[in-house]
């Protein structure tokens, strides 16, 4: 019981993922600044921002639906914490989880856009409704390629349990390096991650210069801090998830831990590069991009996996 509580709250639970996630966000801001030939904020800036937002006042808008407005950030946070716990428990005890925790993980990740949509639509602001409707369209366009990409890897491994991905890849090498189908799947999943994190080419729901922060426009103080934390944790969880599924898994012991951290940082670096060299696209372009390009990419990967590549 005590051990369960520790793993929920400290390692590999809330505290661990929150600290690393905020650090990853700091890396993103620093590197983005360097890409633009700026000094950039210090690496711990997201921690300061988070603490500051916690210490501020919550302003309630006039037409707000109170319960939904307060509950939706909590829903997003609990969803992302449980999802990360499922992911990071697997390296500690590969055979310990139930079969199908990968499916549960995908469902839990869906709670985060759902919380953003609910929060945006309950705040009673027209711009945030626009952001919410864009978020719905983004979810409808990126979710299927994401699931197909993951199930390509599932076809190769032949199991729905995350621990089995670790065992399979420790015996036969990383999926992404040994099978051509998983290269397609990796690229598709990599592009979907940008949309899930609402990063530059697909930051359409938030679009600061266009709809003033979109979905989060009415949020202030601690509630905004919770959404900030959700985003930070997602940075870590999603990049770690890509490494976990396609690139040999992650471990917490010995040199393996350093190696997996380096892999995660490399994926994060690629995410930041793509973020910085792309402008924001329109929502119709994004939907078309996901349904015609990324979807086709993941279908090709799936087909290759079915014929055994």
């Amino acid at each position: 019981m005590n051990n369960t509580l520790f793993s929920f709250l400290v390692f590999p639970g809330f505290l661990f993922i929150a600290v690393i996630g905020l650090l990853f966000m700091g890396i993103d801001r620093k590197l983005s600044a360097r890409f633009q030939w700026r000094m950039g904020p210090p690496l711990w800036q997201p921690f300061v921002d988070f603490m500051k937002l916690l210490s501020k006042e919550v302003v309630l808008p006039k037409n707000v639906n109170k319960p939904m407005f307060f509950l939706s950030p909590l829903m997003g946070l609990s969803g992302v914490i449980v999802a990360s716990l499922l992911l990071f428990r697997a390296p500690l005890n590969p055979q310990g989880a139930f079969i199908g925790d990968l499916v549960v993980f995908i469902y839990l990740l869906l709670l985060i856009p759902l919380s953003v949509i609910l929060g945006a639509s309950s705040s009673g602001n027209p711009l945030s409704s626009v952001g919410g409707s864009r978020e719905i369209k983004m979810v409808l366009s990126y979710e299927l390629p994401f699931i197909l990409a993951i199930f390509t890897a599932v076809l190769k491994v032949g199991s729905l349990r995350m621990g089995d991905f670790l065992l399979y890849q420790s015996q036969r090498g990383a999926l992404f390096l040994t099978s051509p189908s998983c290269v397609f799947a990796f690229v598709a999943a990599f592009l979907v991650i940008h949309a899930k994190l609402a990063l530059a080419p697909f930051d359409i729901p938030e679009a600061e210069t266009e709809i003033m922060g979109g979905t989060l426009i009415e949020y202030s103080g601690p509630l905004l801090a919770l959404f900030y934390l959700v985003r930070a944790i997602l940075y870590f969880t999603l990049t770690a998830f890509l490494v976990f599924i396609f690139w040999g898994g992650i471990t917490f012991t010995g040199w393996g831990a350093v190696l997996s951290l380096l892999k995660i940082l490399l994926v994060l670096f690629l995410v930041i590069v793509v973020k910085n060299i792309n402008p924001r696209i329109r929502i119709d372009q994004a939907v078309r991009f996901f349904w015609t390009r990324v979807f086709v990419l993941s279908i090709i990967g799936m087909g290759l996996a079915i014929i055994g590549w």
């Binding site: 801001r29 030939w37 000094m39 904020p41 921002d49 603490m51 500051k52 210490s55 302003v59 009415e218």
Partner: protein, 138 residues
């Protein structure tokens, strides 16, 4: 002072409100955010919504049309909040002083923490002003 102020001065999120400025001060504010001056190294970030903001930058003379908007935007800001008047216009009116349409200096309407004079102020002056603001928040 408490830890709140210490943290606040390391992470000032700024909302920019133009109340009928001639656009010169607005361009100087953009200059502060460009790679050459880079205000983000102090943790200063321009945000799109006033509800995320700690600092309200006001540029331009307060016109009668703008007066209710200024009050409304100020009331929407969460505490603790800071108002900064950029340029000569919100201070005393600059070339518009005595105009029928001027609703008075900004500090008669909302409490102002920092004045940065100039028409327009240089980016260096804005950064120097913000550094002084950070010291007062200690």
């Amino acid at each position: 002072m408490g830890w709140k102020e210490k943290i606040l001065r390391r992470s000032l999120w700024v909302y920019h409100l133009g109340t009928g400025a001639c656009n010169n001060c607005d361009i100087e504010i953009l200059d502060v955010l460009t790679p050459r001056h880079d205000a983000e190294r102090f943790g200063i970030k321009l945000v799109g919504s006033v509800r995320h903001a700690d600092v309200l930058l006001v540029t331009g003379v307060i016109t009668r049309k703008c007066l209710p908007r200024v009050l409304r935007v100020y009331e929407q800001m969460p505490e603790p909040r800071v108002v900064v008047a950029i340029g000569a216009c919100p201070m005393e009116g600059c070339v518009f002083k005595g105009s029928y349409n001027q609703a008075g200096p900004l500090d008669k309407i909302v409490p102002v923490s920092l004045y940065i004079p100039g028409c327009p102020p240089k980016p260096e002056a804005i950064i120097a002003g913000v550094a002084k603001l950070m010291e007062t928040l200690k």
